[in-house]
């Protein structure tokens, strides 16, 4: 009951505001009093020439983030699981979990020091390149590398968090399965690949379903903190959320930004429903979940 009330007040109630996407919003007239304007607000996004690009970037970056964090999280969990020394295991878990709590703003400052240093063409990475006789790169004006840079940042940020989920799943694997594998002469590597990984597959499916459902939601916090309003990087980094935020800030038009938000939510809902159906089928077949 309290949960229902919570969602009614904070999720379902405010959804009435969606109608502003179909109105020529005026501050004085309010949402109900503002005149209807059909699909005019959607024109801003779909005729901007940026719609395809920001949708593509949102999907591509999220695909990289999902793939990167799941694979690295699983790899990290398997490695930590192999540690026998209890204290070392605990310490490793805490250390890899730490980046999850670091604010995107702090990450952006760290990244600037790492990639560009003082003046924009310094930084540790350029120092390293210089050591190999390679010319420094002005990272903050070159859009090409940014999907990969953001993916590395995301992995650093989230791999530890994901690994904790996997480690929790691993503790549920019966020890006799491992004992049987050892008796059969399996190496540690074989055990990890043939026993551990298949048995934590249901967790991967759950994580995948949860994240694919949100694949249309850009990681606004991290991306905006790092990229900001640097137009030279928009080609590969501008996602729906950052695009809408900038549009709202410069035009202040709630109707237009609500229209994009509605489009994002509808597509997101379709994706969640689809992945949930697929996950159900997979779980039926595997007898899990």
């Amino acid at each position: 009951m309290p949960a229902l009330a919570f969602f009614a007040v904070f999720s379902y109630g405010p959804m009435v505001g969606v109608i502003v996407a179909f109105k020529d919003f005026s501050i004085v007239d309010g949402i109900l009093g503002s005149p209807w304007n059909g699909l005019e607000n959607f024109r801003f996004f779909f005729e901007s020439g940026n719609a395809a690009r920001v949708v593509r970037n949102t999907l591509m970056l999220n695909a990289l983030f999902i793939g990167g964090t799941l694979i690295s999280g699983m790899a990290l969990a398997i490695m930590i699981n192999e540690v026998r020394l209890r204290l070392l295991k605990r310490t490793a878990q805490s250390v890899v979990f730490l980046p999850y709590f670091i604010s995107p703003i702090v990450i952006s400052v760290m990244l600037q020091a790492f990639l560009s240093g003082f003046g924009g063409s310094g930084g540790m990475v350029n120092g390293l390149l210089d050591g190999f006789g390679i010319s420094p790169v002005s990272w903050y004006t070159e859009p090409g590398a940014w999907p990969w840079i953001l993916t590395v940042v995301k992995i650093w940020q989230m791999a530890g968090y994901t690994s904790i989920i996997y480690l929790a799943a691993m503790t549920a694997i019966p020890t006799d399965v491992y004992e049987a594998a050892v008796l059969d002469g399996a190496s540690r590597w074989k055990i990890a690949v043939r026993v551990t990984m298949p048995l934590i597959l249901p967790v991967t499916v759950i994580l995948l379903v949860l994240q694919i459902g949100r694949i249309f939601m850009g990681d606004f916090g991290t991306i905006y903190a790092i990229i900001g309003d640097n137009g030279t990087l928009f080609e590969t980094t501008d996602v729906i959320d950052t695009f809408v935020f900038r549009a709202l800030r410069t035009s202040g038009d709630l109707g237009m930004t609500a229209a994009v938000g509605l489009f994002q939510s509808v597509v997101g809902f379709v994706l969640i429903a689809t992945t949930a159906l697929i996950a159900r089928r997979i779980s039926r077949k595997s007898g899990g979940l």
Partner: protein, 499 residues
């Protein structure tokens, strides 16, 4: 995140749907309390200063102040949301660089004309120049109280004068000498970056309004106020000339690109904010950066002397004519106080603003408690003795009441004085005109997005000029640039016909 952009939140939505009335809260003492929206963080010693302000304000007028400080990063969005949901508040900082145009066109602001002209608020009338008020009017009525410490504040430079002296340059009074200084720094002090540019000031590098930092022609002839998206509206028929057809801007773009390639500018201008640049200047890493005529040059940049032995600063005016320059201005105040149309406390806000227009009261809020936060060092100067720093531009700026900081460098003090003399300005042909973009909102939003992406990098020297210009022009035209410009021209023509 995005759901939040249209799902306004339970309580706010109810208010936005139904509409609700604002009103002053009542303090425990029964005095009417005015809630003002202010940008930035709560100042140091705010509790003590606010208590002193309220004690005196309540004794004099029966009112109390209860400002709400909203972080700079989301002041614009927060304020708009409060207007939208009709949250009860009594006044707010507003500006053309915030939401002023939309609030005016939506009729969301209280009409102040009658109260301003009533003659009942003598102190307020006396301390805000009537000409600024005239140019602040929208369709003949006053909806904003202009907050002004000067008539306009063009972008200028702060430079390391000790370096200029070391190179034998002396005082910088023209563009050629400035350029020599920048290249001398590069050559003789290679650890320093000659000029530190931040993302906020990229807009001021090449497009004159009426002067631009690196537009040499505008230094010699600051006559052109470029109005919209780099477009200048020329002649009596307001022929729009885009920036890619203005020779002085094209020349300046080439110059910016050369500076970028020669290492005169930092390469990360598009990602650096103003505070980062100022902090690096204070550490002695930049030899020059942007500094306006707001009286803050000395306190903001002077501390470089604490970190770098022998460092000294000077303000450089971006005019070859120096203090004899006479420039066009729109006289639209950069900062204004507004009152929501739904508020019922307009008269109380005027009383409070009138009270703040008395020297003693103005000083109390602007500088803090005398003897604890500041000491008077003359009739119009003061020395700061605590960390108290109130955003006076959002409430208490009054040209005749402002005090200069003791110990300000002479060039800083002189330029501030220059900006406070009306004789140094002429009214631009479009002074007093507000553009209402609601008819072309979709195109305006699209063009703004394109501008950030394709034009600002050119202004910062980050892109090769010719391919960058071709790309920018085509993107701007595809986004609806001509539609926006034509609408602007139509409204401006109507405005001129009616004035």
């Amino acid at each position: 995140m995005l759901q939040g952009s249209f799902a306004l939140g339970g309580a706010g939505l109810v208010a936005a749907l139904a509409g609700c009335q604002s009103g002053s809260g009542d303090s425990s003492s029964g005095a009417a309390t005015l809630k003002s929206l202010l940008p930035g963080d709560v100042p140091q010693r705010w509790t003590e200063v606010l208590a002193a302000v309220n004690t005196k304000l309540e004794a004099d007028t029966g009112l109390r102040l209860d400002p709400e400080f909203i972080s700079w990063t989301n002041y614009s969005e927060q304020e708009m949301l409060k207007f939208t949901t009709q949250e009860p508040f009594d006044s707010a900082l507003e500006a053309t660089w915030l939401n002023l145009a939309q609030l005016l066109s939506d009729g969301a602001l209280a009409d102040m004309t009658e109260l301003w002209e009533s003659g009942r608020f003598e102190n307020l009338n006396a301390t805000i120049d009537e000409r600024m008020v005239e140019y602040a009017k929208y369709q003949g009525s006053l909806y904003t109280i202009p907050l002004v410490a000067n008539f306009t504040s063009p972008p200028g430079f702060v430079i390391r004068q000790d370096l200029a002296d070391k190179y034998g340059i002396g005082e910088i009074t023209d563009y050629e000498t400035l350029e020599k200084f920048l290249y001398d720094v590069k050559q003789k002090d290679p650890d320093l970056i000659p000029f530190g540019l931040d993302a906020g000031y990229v807009n001021n590098t090449v497009v004159p309004n009426p002067v631009a930092l690196f537009n040499a022609q505008s230094w010699d002839d600051p006559a052109k106020c470029v109005q919209l998206l780099g477009t200048h509206f020329e002649g009596s028929d307001l022929t729009p000339v885009p920036f890619w057809e203005q020779p002085d801007i094209l020349e300046s773009l080439d110059r910016m690109r050369q500076y970028y390639l020669d290492g005169i500018l930092n390469e990360d201008a598009l990602t650096l904010d103003m505070s980062a640049v100022r902090s690096l200047f204070a550490q002695g890493r930049y030899a020059s950066t942007t500094a306006g005529a707001d009286g803050l040059t000395s306190p903001t940049f002077g501390p470089v002397a604490d970190n770098v032995e022998g460092a000294a600063i000077a303000q450089v005016f971006p005019f070859t004519a120096g203090l004899d320059a006479v420039i066009p201005a729109t006289f639209q105040a950069a900062n204004n106080m507004v009152v929501p149309a739904y508020a019922e406390t307009l008269e109380e806000v005027f009383e409070m603003m009138d009270w703040l227009s008395v020297q003693e009261n103005h000083d109390l809020l602007s500088y803090g408690i005398e003897g604890e936060d500041w000491e008077a060092t003359g009739e119009h100067s003061y020395e700061q003795i605590s960390g108290y720093s109130f955003p006076a531009f959002a409430m208490s700026w009054r040209t005749p009441l402002e005090r200069g900081l003791a110990g300000a460098v002479e060039s800083d003090r002189a330029w501030v004085e220059w900006t406070r003399d009306f004789e140094n300005f002429t009214a631009d042909h479009l002074a007093g005109f507000y553009f209402d973009s609601s008819a072309v909102a979709s195109e305006q939003a699209q063009v703004n997005a394109v501008f950030d992406e394709y034009v600002l990098p050119l202004y910062a020297g980050v892109k090769d000029v010719q391919p960058g210009l071709d790309e920018a022009r085509s993107a701007m035209e595809d986004a609806g640039y001509e539609t926006v410009v034509e609408e602007y021209r139509r409204q401006a023509t109507d405005y001129l016909a009616g004035s």
